[in-house]
Symmetry: C2
Subunit: 209 residues, 2 copies
């Protein structure tokens, strides 16, 4: 399926615990106003029912704006709410199985090193999330940061759209884009921002140059 590649420019990756008590629907609505082009719902401790309800609520926020919703890990939830995509990591379902279940939905894959980049899954997915770029507190189990040069090397190994992720702030992304990132996937830089709309705008402006 041909997709507008601009959907990969600015992805908000949710983290309920970093939202400072605000509802994810409110944070996401503000971020959409600010220019995010995709939202990935990531839930690591919610029950399936909570995850499903949150996915349905975000879908309702995003659909009127045509912003695709991508569900982290859970293909069943993506199917149940008819989300536009699924994002998997290396410990989730292999992309071949995801494709069999999710059909033409967008499939994203997290990549942290060259070995993973050489895997079959890289060829079968629609976009890659490559990182972490910088040191960050979002993921307790995050890998060693790639830095810009490490990112550049991985980016050169694939012709898939690549979103950089990990420790991104509006003021440290210029070299990442110069190193070949098609887009930016942002967690705390938007979710924890005082003003998620303004934070999203600051990232979005990087693509207007």
């Amino acid at each position: 399926m041909t997709r507008d590649p601009s959907i990969y420019r600015l992805c908000l990756v949710t983290d309920r615990d970093l939202a400072r008590g605000r509802a994810l629907t409110d944070v996401v609505a503000a971020a959409v106003q600010g220019g995010v082009t995709m939202v990935q719902l990531r839930e690591k401790s919610a029950t399936t029912r909570e995850f499903l309800e949150e996915a349905r609520a975000l879908k309702a926020v995003l659909a009127p704006h045509g912003v695709p919703l991508v569900i982290n890990d859970r293909v069943d939830i993506a199917l149940a709410v008819d989300a536009e995509g699924v994002h998997v990591g290396q410990k989730d379902m292999p992309v071949e199985q995801v494709r069999a279940l999710a059909g033409s939905r967008i499939i994203g894959l997290s990549i942290t090193n060259a070995d993973q980049m050489r895997g079959e899954d890289t060829r079968l997915c629609d976009y890659l999330g490559v990182g972490p770029l910088y040191l960050q507190q979002t993921k307790a189990d995050a890998s060693t940061p790639l830095g810009v040069e490490g990112f550049r090397a991985l980016r050169a190994m694939t012709d898939r759209p690549v979103m950089a992720i990990g420790g991104l702030k509006a003021d440290n992304c210029a070299p990442v884009l110069a190193a070949g990132a098609d887009g930016l996937a942002v967690v705390s830089g938007i979710v924890s921002a005082d003003d998620p709309r303004a934070a999203s705008q600051a990232f979005a402006r990087l693509f207007q140059k």
Copy 2:
């Protein structure tokens, strides 16, 4: 779909942490020799990839014997390995959504009280797991035990096949069957047994009277 109701007689519900270091495939293979008629794979801390691989391994053990595999919570994993069924609790995906995704697969639902029994999901599923019958250590978040009389009251509220679950041992099940259980769902009574085959046989013998 019409199913042989004997599949609901003796369900082994897995718990990796209670298997005393033995592979679940070995425990399940022994339990099938002993007469279990269904296996529910329950994984609460595994990654999706581990869960998927375990499901595939159990499917390979069970398929030659015609014993159905039911996946706890994860409809996507059930679909990926073509398991015969899905079992959901009250915090998992509602049965209506499970049915939409899982089609004619067996759908089981956990019930712990009368309010849940009155829910729409009870009508939409294929069998109910009702419990806990007795005090047990398997689930840290288990509800107050129903006891035989509490079980009898819930059992009378539905015409679905009902498996009793919770603290079952071969020597405390006779009153449960007399109270109307169609079958028994057993966790530690088989998974933790010195001899899972002999333990399964002891439960299976209760249906030969």
